[in-house]
Symmetry: C2
Subunit: 599 residues, 2 copies
């Protein structure tokens, strides 16, 4: 059945392309702040294609249309693109052309060799790469100053105008003046007089402010221009409460309209400005008029990644609350499933409700992934009313969830045996746990990057012919985004060293298509281990407080050291959570401390 809505939108688009003499237009998945999650206003790729996955690029020519996405979304994209003229392009599959290769062919007999893309939703680095590739394939050129959605998306959502809140110093732990002073010092070291910040969580961190413009992320749409003496926040003034206005005045931070950020960049005449091409949009970067543009990574993400003592304590408090809600939920879960009528969506709602009862709760930190049995094998599964699976008293339920509390952000995955399991499930469950524990037991030299540690969590799985294609760990914000960089634990080269005070997740998993998925995730804090004649060593403190299901474990696959870790962890979880639980919950929690011994 033809999708008339999408057909009509494509017709409007092509009329504009003809008017502008463009051969094609590229719709990516981002916003003017290189966000992972965007406000609805920037969901143009979804609007023009009908595909709502979190990653994908739609490209439309006058006669054809195609959508590129990765393996997480092949099935969903196929369903959602049915009835449209979009061809699905499967990334990293042999024979799939790149966007430039495809456009080179599609436009080979076209008079219009120019391609459009909105420079405000692409980073400067993205556009530079795209421009080069298009030139190589059929000599195509790229126009970035024409946002076609402004003309054709009639009911396009506005830029969000939600109010901005102070993050008090009791939770932030460092004043904005101290942060600005550290940033300015870092800029002087690379001979920069200032920098443009666009990344929303960097701005929120620097100014000790929080917003609610993006689903699950406590950030607000803005740019921040930092000079050696002054700083200017480009934001809609109506979002500022009287309190925030006077705070910004105190901090000597000027406020100008969001749309004026580009104008301001044109007045840097005699100074040097740092522009991080992987952060700032091409639309902004192209307006800079400065003595010198220093293209280097922003110093802010690493500063933000290292949590100060106050932030660390806040995260510990948030973990305690999250643990209480999770224990209440876990105790409820199996009997509820036995009673019947529970589904992936219903148990997710229950968990959300229990979290919302905790103090300083501000919402979820991402949409809950609750995948039962074969749904657990779909890495980015999100249950919908159409897919929502009833839960039975058998098999594995994978739940990856997290919350925003004003004192910290959480992210946890537990895989729960709802009843009897297969031998394969028990083996995979135990090996994932083994990798998960081994990373937490690791000590490592100060200066090591996550790439250098990644194999520790995978080695037990590799030996059984198992592997996962996602990363092992990412940073987690302090009441900020649930995914933070720049450090990561993953196979791809990520050179940023893990430093004392950084948070990082530990989340190995295995996904066996059509059968089940297992993932176990804690949030860790990098701590000092010891100084020796061989150097300084770091280790991990486990922040997450929630029991790990021991019923599926095959103890013969674990070493005594791993079993000891698990027993100690459960004792710690009990000791910290018990005072906050009622008798029934406390008894249940105590029953999770099964002292396993290796055979």
């Amino acid at each position: 059945m033809r999708n008339e809505v999408i057909a009509e939108r494509l017709e409007m688009l092509r009329e504009e392309l003809r008017r502008e003499h463009l051969g094609a237009y590229i719709f990516n998945t981002s916003d003017p702040h290189n966000s992972e999650f965007t406000a609805d206003r920037w969901k143009g790729r979804e609007w023009i294609s009908g595909f709502n996955g979190s990653a994908g690029t739609a490209v439309v020519t006058l006669k054809s249309a195609a959508l590129w996405t990765d393996s997480r979304y092949f099935i969903a994209a196929e369903q959602q693109l049915a009835g449209t003229e979009y061809q699905l392009m499967k990334l990293k599959i042999d024979g799939t052309p790149t966007i430039a290769e495809w456009l080179g062919k599609e436009l080979s007999d076209s008079d219009n060799k120019e391609v459009g893309a909105d420079g405000s939703t692409h980073t400067a680095a993205d556009i530079e790469e795209l421009r080069q590739e298009l030139r190589q394939h059929g000599g195509l050129t790229l126009r970035t100053n024409f946002d076609v959605l402004q003309r054709i998306w009639k009911d396009r959502p506005m830029t969000p105008l939600n109010p901005i809140m102070l993050q008090p110093i009791e939770l932030a732990g460092e004043t904005t003046q101290q942060k600005l002073s550290r940033i300015r010092k870092a800029l002087r070291e690379v001979h920069a007089d200032g920098m443009m910040m666009s990344q929303l969580d960097d701005i929120a961190w620097t100014l000790n402010l929080r917003g609610s413009d993006v689903h699950c992320s406590p950030v607000f749409i803005s740019h921040l221009l930092i000079g050696s003496q002054q700083a200017t926040l480009f934001v809609d003034e109506c979002k500022l409460t009287a309190e925030v206005k006077s705070y910004l005045t105190e901090q000597k931070i000027a406020v100008r309209p969001y749309e004026m950020a580009g104008d301001a960049l044109q007045k840097w005449g005699e100074w040097n400005i740092l522009i991080d091409s992987d952060e700032v949009s091409e639309a902004l970067a192209r307006q800079v008029k400065a003595n010198e543009i220093i293209r280097k990574p922003s110093p802010v993400p690493v500063m933000k990644a290292v949590k100060n003592e106050v932030e660390q304590q806040g995260i510990r408090n948030a973990m305690l609350k999250d643990g209480i809600a999770l224990v209440k939920w876990l105790r409820w879960l199996k009997p509820a499933v036995e009673a019947g009528g529970q589904t992936e969506m219903s148990v997710s709602r229950k968990l959300e409700q229990l979290r919302s009862e905790q103090p300083l709760y501000r919402g979820l930190s991402f949409d809950t992934i609750a995948g039962y049995e074969e749904h657990g094998a779909i890495v980015h599964y999100e249950a919908t009313p159409e897919t929502d699976k009833p839960l039975e008293s058998r098999g594995l339920l994978l739940v990856d969830s997290g919350a925003q509390y004003q004192d910290g952000t959480t992210d946890i995955t537990r895989t729960i045996a709802l009843g009897p399991l297969t031998d394969e499930q028990r083996k995979v469950y135990t090996l994932v746990l083994k990798g998960h524990i081994d990373l937490q037991l690791l000590h490592f030299p100060d200066g090591a990057s996550g790439t250098q540690l990644d194999a520790i969590a995978r080695a037990p799985l590799w030996k059984a012919g198992l592997n996962y294609l996602h990363g092992t760990g990412h940073g987690v914000g302090a009441y900020l985004n649930v995914h933070e960089g720049p450090h990561q634990i993953r196979m791809e080269w990520k050179p940023t060293p893990l430093r004392k005070g950084m948070t990082v997740t530990d989340e190995p998993g295995i996904y066996l298509e059509g059968r089940f998925g297992v993932r176990t995730e804690n949030v860790l804090l990098v701590q000092e281990a010891e100084d020796t004649e061989c150097g300084r060593f770091l280790c991990f403190e486990t922040l997450t407080l929630c029991p790990i299901d021991t019923t599926p474990i095959l103890p013969e696959l674990l070493t005594q050291e791993e079993i000891d870790w698990l027993n100690n962890y459960h004792t710690e979880v009990y000791n910290k959570l018990a005072p906050h639980l009622n008798d029934e919950e406390r008894d249940w929690l105590q029953s999770t401390i099964v002292r396993k011994n290796s055979n």
Copy 2:
């Protein structure tokens, strides 16, 4: 006491610098082939400074002189530079200036802002980097076409003229025509019509020829220019035996004088040539006249790194012979030490003699490192008559050695308890062995690089606050250089994946200054493990056949799996070597199979 020899050489040098209006001259440690080990002709840095370490750079201005080297050589350099005007510059130590920074200051008040360096002993990439750095520090320029040593080094050794030998197809396993055809295919894929090869082991591998121009490396000084139809070897014709001459004629490989390589590069007018800037000297690269210079890595090192079946069998044969010699030596060692009179040098000579009795022996693959007790903690220790330490029946002797056989190259390290040890020695010995075994037990996904695996060998050491600063593993040639790339197992990012058929060493170690050193090294071969729904997995076959001293082991630090590996390894060593040993040696070898059990 003033070193008159060096003083006189510096005087001659400065006379030439003044004549050429140069402010300074840089002497590096390399040759026109970017070799790790060079023929004596290119040991100019040693000649001008008196420092004979394997790494270092001497820089001389009209009024000052300095020598940069790394921590392996701080002590030796200090001794050897005593009595000269050289200032020792310790690399990677806080406060040590770079060469460009130092020159910028030294030449700030000089009229001569030009610095000299021999472009024929620097790669094109090195010179480009140096040129940029010198420009940034005081606007210095670099002259690379003046080899000052030609003027002042009166008794400079000639380019070696040793005869070249055929490596028969029974040992090479692939004809030169097949290799050339693979290389040409790889060149076509990057749109190159040809390439210049300078790396000596790449040339020897491609042509199935071997030489003896470089100490311990069976290579011959030459360049090889490969075109789409023809190939030209630039080599001194007097090195070619009649057999090799007729072989080259058969293979349609033209021969021209070594010195004419640069001339040939000037005639590539309409074609595209690949130049690997990390391989080809600046002196050659600057002469290229071609339609396009394609600056990419040479495809040959990866081809050479993957050993074919015949090479693999040759290496296994070489390992058998090496194992026989090593067992004879190990059986002899402890009684000989007890009898008295043995030193680091004397036991090294004994080992060399035993190896030389094996068929197809062609020499050592590197100078033996035999370090007793505190000398074992010096990573690149080489005993001299002055340092040679008498061995006693106590403590640890670290011996890293290897041989060239015509069927394969070996590289092995064993640390041997000559008698009673301290508790610390036993603990460190066991943990090094644990890391060594864990890497051999690993399975890993096809496509993983050595950087991604490196932590497996280190993790047991890190947990005890121990670490080593060298790499964990390097490739080993098939009757070629003992150090081969481009794959490596080390903490620094080396993206080349480990592929089936590659050799790689496994050599963790710990060095406790002033006390002792431990290293245990086997050569491994990458093999297929299994194909599963999660992908293709690889594993390691251990090629080295030599018992590992079990007397220092603290079994409680090993897992049962690690102990099983050790017992199985010793059984395999026994089964393979026993038929080639006399009764006495066989009994001794059997006594090494101590079935340890964990407590």
